[in-house]
């Protein structure tokens, strides 16, 4: 029981990160129609910024805010400068540009911060003794804080989508871009905001994830996470924010339990779980668990 709970807690923490990044991927997908391959690298870049600030003794909460703001700007500028001029030409070109951005940001990280790995300070008490005992298992404050913060972000995004004018305009733009602009929505501004929000979510996810294990901030940190988040987004349905969150959590928990109990998987084959999920989804239910097939009568 105790072991099970510890696996479960780890799984929920990883799952929450996948969920946050999957939500970010879905937000971009709904507006622009592509997977943002650079999503993970954007998050890593802003995590480096936050880490860099912590080494200058800036309070961690301030680092979080600055990095989140930087993420927002990075996302918005990417949309305006790189995506908007290209996306009209072709979807493939957009994908290639995003792959290019992925490589460029990764190399930039290497140039700016080198190839060593760093340990990042946590937003929450992060000592060996900072835990509460739940059913004999240790639930660390860092995990609990992560869950709460991700839940708050996800809740805020859903509030935005479903109960604000801006959210309505975002949904309209995702549903039918031309019709949205014919209704008076400044579509470019909406897309830019969507990219900004999505990169800001990624920034928070990076800052929550990195302190969970020592020496984890490095140029290779985010790529595997992006694979998991993409699998979650696909599993949940690329156009379904709620689906992305649920699938992210599911994937995190399944992965933690499988790698905990099945020794062949543990440590080495975790990422394979994401790929298996991707292949299965594409074969069995391409629209994902909660995604929709187009319903339109003409």
């Amino acid at each position: 029981m105790q072991l099970f709970l510890e696996y479960l807690f780890d799984g929920i923490s990883n799952g929450a990160i996948y969920a946050a990044l999957a939500l970010a991927l879905v937000m971009v997908f709904r507006g622009t129609g592509t997977i943002n391959f650079a999503q993970g690298e954007m998050a890593l870049f802003t995590t480096y910024i936050a880490w860099g600030l912590t080494t200058k003794n800036v309070p961690i909460i301030l680092c979080l805010l600055i990095a989140t703001g930087a993420g927002f700007v990075l996302g918005a500028v990417t949309e305006r400068v790189l995506i908007r001029p290209i996306e009209r030409k072709s979807l493939l070109a957009t994908l290639i540009v995003l792959l290019g951005l992925f490589l460029a940001l990764n190399s930039l990280d290497g140039i700016l911060w080198g190839n060593e790995n760093y340990t990042m300070a946590s937003l929450f008490p992060n000592k060996v003794s900072s835990f509460v005992s739940v059913g004999g298992a240790r639930l660390y404050w860092a995990n609990l804080g992560l869950w709460i913060l991700v839940a708050v972000i996800v809740g805020a995004m859903f509030q935005l989508f479903n109960h604000t004018r801006l959210g309505l305009h975002m949904r309209a733009t995702a549903s039918n871009r031309e019709s949205a602009s014919l209704s008076g929505i400044a579509v470019g501004r909406i897309l830019m905001l969507g990219w900004g929000f999505s990169a800001a979510i990624g920034a928070v996810a990076g800052i929550l994830l990195t302190p969970l294990s020592p020496d984890s901030l490095g140029v290779g940190e985010m790529f595997p996470i992006l694979i998991q988040a993409s699998a979650a987004a696909l599993l949940g349905g690329l156009d379904s924010p709620g689906g992305a969150v649920i699938a992210g959590l599911m994937l995190g928990v399944v992965e933690a339990l499988l790698s905990g109990y099945v020794s062949v998987i543990g440590g080495q084959l975790e990422e394979a779980i994401a790929f298996v999920a991707i292949v299965l989804v594409l074969l069995v239910r391409p629209q994902g668990l909660f995604g929709s097939k187009e319903v339109e009568r003409v």
């Binding site: 309505l168 549903s175 008076g184």
Partner: protein, 236 residues
Amino acid sequence: MSLLEITDLRGGYGPSMVLHGISLSVDEGEIVVVLGANGAGKTTTMRAISGLISSKGAITLDGRSISGLHPDKVVGAGISLVPQGRGTFAKLSVEDNLQVGAAKRRDRAGVKDDLEQWYEVFPRLAERKKQPAGTLSGGEQQMLAIARALMNRPRLLLCDEPSLGLAPIVVREVFALLTRINTEQKTAMLIVEQNAQLALEIASRAYVLETGTVVTEGTAASLRDSDAVRRAYLGY
């Protein structure tokens, strides 16, 4: 001075030109219809006015140039397009669709009043306001598209093929509603239509397009009586 004045409009899609110098005008409160066969440039004219495609030539609303504006700015200037195919936001509820139509407006109370007003005019939309708009019938979606465009309180309503894909009885209903809105709200309308007979009944003037130019224009009555127009477009 006319409400909408188009002079020597040229444009198309990339290198292929569709419009070769179209001039037309719509007066305050007037219904004008644009007729023409497939490929004559009717929809392209509508898209050029709305700012969806770039074009050369002058487009003015109330004497102020609107050519080169982005679509949302054209809406802001007071022109709303009911696009061909209706442009329904399929997953959004009927009410959300109408709210999107009010994107340019800041007066909440006025928007609420307008919602009530259009629910009265289109009772079937009121019955289905919480339903995803994609589940409406074709006729209902056409009504929704018109109501959505009207939520902007446009001075000029552009309608691109409002009869497309609808049963004849529904087409009559749509045209009756357009006439009613024109009478009650004094909204000027520029309607592109293949159903020439019906369109000429509600319009005061008409233009006939052929391969991107205006070949005939005149009052609706005179076009109805013209043998050439009748043979070519009315089919009797």
